[in-house]
């Protein structure tokens, strides 16, 4: 969620009046040039709201691109690695996209809104790349980042909150599905998507109705213990759920200036998003080659002994450094100390025992700890309620 801090005026999201009022500890961060709360009142309490009741996160700063025109599907199929024709109408697909070298530029979601009408949500600004990709295609690309406001509503009671708000039949919306509702005459789009690995929704509305949506949501959610949550709580939740973050777990390929610092989808554990049989797409040739010749790195989820998060640790095998941690957190619900790491092949097979070399500081005194860790085969937080349809009432 880090942006670049400079002297540019920070932007406010359409929910700013509400997030500002709710941000009790006045702790703000910069997400792509927008002021967004790092924490509203207490990171752990916010995190537990997401895991135990319902949390609300303002995702308006996310870059959103509307792709329309006769070639919209063909165009997206050339841009991203997965087969877009398989994302049905009214469905959402998670994907990555690569440069010609098969290195991941970004990850995001594709919303299939109507025939040849898609919304692409991206971590990074992508207008220039999307425009370059449009050569030879009859498509129009509109940056709707500022013209669509959005909230993520995540957690076990999220479905009940929406029902209380009057969204009929919302419990039957399948994961990665979306549906249109109306909120006081304004169209409200709801998708069953999110970045916490739990039952959750994302709500999309015109900016001038943003405050209304926030208010209705919190009114309806009062009895379901709805709370806003900030970027810090989200960070724990997404690590617990096993989600990589662009700019943290990988360097967007076209931003990297040093050779060898970028990663392919296979090296990020996202090979399942690559469809080499769908025809030409960016990175296909390089990825085909990688599949034949082998990858350089492997993405691993590590269960680290102890409770010290292995932030920025080296990963050792014996005395040899074989990798490094990109994200780490103590995950309270799973009660596991999790780290994401990039390790050199052939290391990192599930079950392999490695060592995290953790450095930590107490009152300017640095200590080093060698924490044994083990490669695990799946994210530590993954409950059936995430996928259950109809969504379970809590």
């Amino acid at each position: 969620m880090k942006g670049t801090s400079d002297s540019t005026m920070m932007l406010k999201t359409p929910f700013h009046s509400r997030t500002e009022a709710a941000c009790e500890i006045n702790c703000w961060g910069d997400w792509m040039g927008y002021t967004t709360p790092n924490a509203y009142f207490d990171v752990e309490l916010e995190y537990f709201a997401v895991r135990s009741t319902a949390g609300v996160f303002d995702i308006s700063p996310m870059n959103k691109y509307r792709i329309t025109g006769p070639d919209a599907q063909a165009y997206l199929n050339r841009v991203v690695t997965r087969d877009v024709s398989k994302i049905g109408l009214g469905r959402v697909g998670y994907t990555v996209w690569c440069n010609d070298a098969g290195q991941v530029m970004d990850d995001g979601t594709i919303f299939h809104l109507a025939e040849n009408d898609y919304r692409l949500c991206a971590y990074a600004r992508a207008t220039d790349w999307l425009e370059w990709c449009a050569m030879g295609f009859d498509v129009s690309i509109e940056d709707e980042t500022a013209s669509v406001a959005a909230l993520a509503l995540q957690g076990p009671t999220s479905c009940s909150v929406l029902k209380a708000m009057g969204l009929e039949d919302i419990e039957n919306l399948k994961p990665f599905g979306m549906r249109d509702y109306e909120l006081e005459g304004e169209s409200l789009m709801v998708s069953r998507t999110g970045f916490t690995g739990d039952l959750g929704y994302e709500l999309w509305i015109a900016p001038h109705k943003a405050e209304l949506l926030w208010d209705r949501l919190f009114e309806a959610g009062e009895h379901y213990l709805i709370k806003p949550f900030g970027s810090d709580a989200l960070e724990i939740a997404r690590i617990e759920a096993g989600f990589v973050q662009a700019g943290v777990d990988f360097v967007p390929a076209e931003d990297a200036v040093r050779n060898g610092r970028t990663r392919s989808p296979y090296e990020l554990g996202l090979g399942w998003l690559v469809n080499l049989d769908k025809g030409v797409f960016n990175g296909r040739k390089a990825l085909q080659k990688e599949l034949q010749e082998g990858s350089r790195y492997r993405f691993v989820i590590l269960d680290v002994e102890g409770n010290k998060p292995a932030d920025s640790s080296f990963i050792l095998k014996g005395n040899k450094q074989v990798g490094a941690v990109t994200s780490a957190a103590w995950c309270p619900t799973a009660k596991t100390n999790v780290a994401f790491a990039q390790v050199e092949m052939p290391h990192g097979a599930v079950g392999q025992e490695l060592v995290a070399e953790i450095y930590y500081q107490r009152e300017l005194h640095w200590s080093r700890m060698l924490a044994p860790c083990k490669v695990i085969d799946a994210p530590v937080f993954n409950l059936p309620r995430r996928r259950a349809t109809p969504a379970l009432p809590f």
């Binding site: 063909a74 030409v280 960016n282 040739k285």
Partner: protein, 520 residues
């Protein structure tokens, strides 16, 4: 079942040369040419009743002797009517400067200029010989280079070393700068400076002060290494070279189909599988070689949507804007140029009295205007080959710099006035020439693009500049004739080393394909 082993798109000189080498190696090759005659820029054409002209290229001054020999072009009808012509810089006052090889002469030319030029010429020849070593091989890549590339690089490195410390450092110093500065520091005579400077900008969208023009000059010096100390003329015009190439191709078993325009290069799963012709006929072949320029090849024939974005982006950024036009005059009689005798009239005549004249001519084209006083490179081929015009009549052909690709309002409304302007310029050097004119033809960059299938009308299919040569030609990722589209190769002027009638892109591409064998 495929129709051919190789389909070559475009029957220009490079397409024919590539096809012939491939056929000689045992492949079944077809060349598909949109025009009704083979040769591409090596074409002769009757532009007025009874008057024939070399329609695009007007001189042969860079043809690789190896190609001439390997393809037995003389046995296939190539006849020279003039070789090693002088280049004569015309002065409006009748003071002419004559240059051929290492010798330069003009009334009042200082002894110092003569001697400096001799040294300068020798030095440039040493540099050009070094270039030839690299031009005769595929361009080496720096990253992922294999043994072949390392040998080429070693040859280049060794060659640089062998130049000696002074020459090497001087090459490094001048290679990226401009002709204007190099001329200013070397010579006194304005006409000499301008004549050499013009060599550096011919065919390019550059003025004498533009960087890369020294490289452009050395590029042209390669012709002297190939044995052309001055331009040569072919009997029947340059088109006869095209005919000889076509005959050589036919003799090698190449199927040359004229009047056959390729509408697309077909790909399946990222691999070229053949071509579709205008009219719908499909030809299957495991290898497709395009002699069309890279932009036409990838934007129009393959289609940007069938290649990856990074590559499409590189193709779209190739600089291929031309500033060169062609003027053809049908003359009732031999023109009289002030101060030239009959023998001199048949040489290469150049209008570029000083470097600022060329630079000003270039200024206009930067703003899509045509030069009010353009530089010209003139040939009167009928003095050597009377068969190109009715008895006693003559043809004048001139390369004109500079004319924009698209002047404001389009060429239709400027064609007449620009032609008139060119006649006025000629009139200053050849009083009375206008009265001899029975027909004119002006080929603007747009005409050259349309008639010879070269994007922007650029005779190099892309500017010869540091970012578009060697391992960057035509663009990174397609530098060794092969491209990211498996089975698709480039063999035209857009490929290494570049344009001009050298035959090297075609020859090198064929060699690369043969060398790769089954892996191609």
């Amino acid at each position: 079942m495929t129709d051919y082993d190789v389909v070559v798109v475009g029957g220009g000189h490079n397409g024919l040369i590539c096809a012939t080498y491939l056929a000689k190696s045992g492949k079944r090759v077809a060349v598909l040419e949109a025009a009704e005659s083979a040769g591409g820029c090596a074409e002769s054409r009757e532009f007025a009743t009874g008057y024939t002209v070399s329609a695009c290229a007007q001189w042969v001054d860079q043809l690789s002797p190896e190609v001439t020999r390997d393809l037995a072009l003389e046995a296939h009808g190539l006849r020279w009517v003039a070789k090693n012509l002088d280049s004569i810089s015309l002065g409006a006052d009748g003071r002419h400067l004559t240059l051929c090889g290492a010798d330069v002469n003009a009334p009042g030319l200082s002894q110092e200029d003569r001697e400096t030029y001799r040294d300068f010429h020798q030095k440039m020849m040493r540099y050009a010989k070094l270039l030839v070593k690299v031009f005769n091989e595929r361009a080496p890549t720096l990253v992922d280079s294999n043994l072949t590339d390392r040998i080429t690089l070693a040859k280049l490195g060794l060659g640089l070393k062998m130049l000696g410390k002074d020459d090497m450092s001087d090459l490094m110093r001048i290679i990226l700068i401009n002709m204007y500065d190099v001329m200013e520091e070397s010579f006194e005579d304005d006409q000499l400076k301008a004549l050499l400077a013009l060599e550096g900008v011919l065919g390019a969208h550059m003025g004498p002060r533009s960087p890369n023009t020294v490289y452009g000059y050395l590029y042209r010096c390669v012709g002297q290494v190939f044995g052309f100390s001055g331009p040569a003329l072919v009997k029947g015009g340059v088109g006869a070279l095209g005919q000889a190439l076509a005959a050589s191709a036919a003799a090698a078993g190449v199927t040359v189909r004229l009047g056959t325009r390729v509408s697309s290069i077909d790909t399946e799963g990222g691999r070229a599988v053949g071509v579709t012709l205008e009219g719908g006929e499909q030809l299957k072949a495991p290898l497709v070689v395009s002699s069309a320029d890279p932009v036409t090849t990838f934007e129009n024939l393959v289609g940007y949507r069938n290649i990856e974005t990074g590559m499409a982006r590189r193709v779209s950024q190739i600089r291929h804007k031309s500033g060169t036009a062609k003027l053809h005059l049908a003359l009732d009689g031999a023109p009289a140029f002030t101060g030239l005798d009959a023998a001199q009239l048949g040489q290469r005549l150049v209008i570029a009295p000083d470097m600022n004249y060329i630079e000003r001519a270039f200024n206009a084209v930067k703003y899509s205007e045509y030069s009010s006083a353009p530089a010209m490179d003139i040939s009167i081929p009928t003095l050597h080959d009377p068969s190109m015009a009715p008895e006693g009549k003559h043809v004048l052909s001139a390369i004109v710099q500079f004319a924009p690709y698209e002047p404001e309002g389009g060429w239709d409304q400027h064609r007449e006035s620009f032609t008139k302007l060119l006649l006025d310029v000629l009139e200053a050097y050849a009083p009375g020439i206008s009265k001899e004119v029975v027909a004119t033809e002006l080929l603007t960059p747009q005409d050259l693009e349309g008639q010879f299938g070269m994007r922007g009308g650029h005779w190099h299919h892309g500017e010869i500049a540091i970012d578009q040569i060697l391992m960057m030609r035509p663009f990174p990722g397609a530098t060794q004739y092969g491209t990211a589209v498996d089975g698709l190769y480039l063999c035209g002027a857009g490929a290494h080393p570049g344009g001009g009638l050298t035959g090297l892109p075609g020859r090198n591409a064929a060699r690369e394909i043969i060398k790769r064998g089954a892996a191609a």
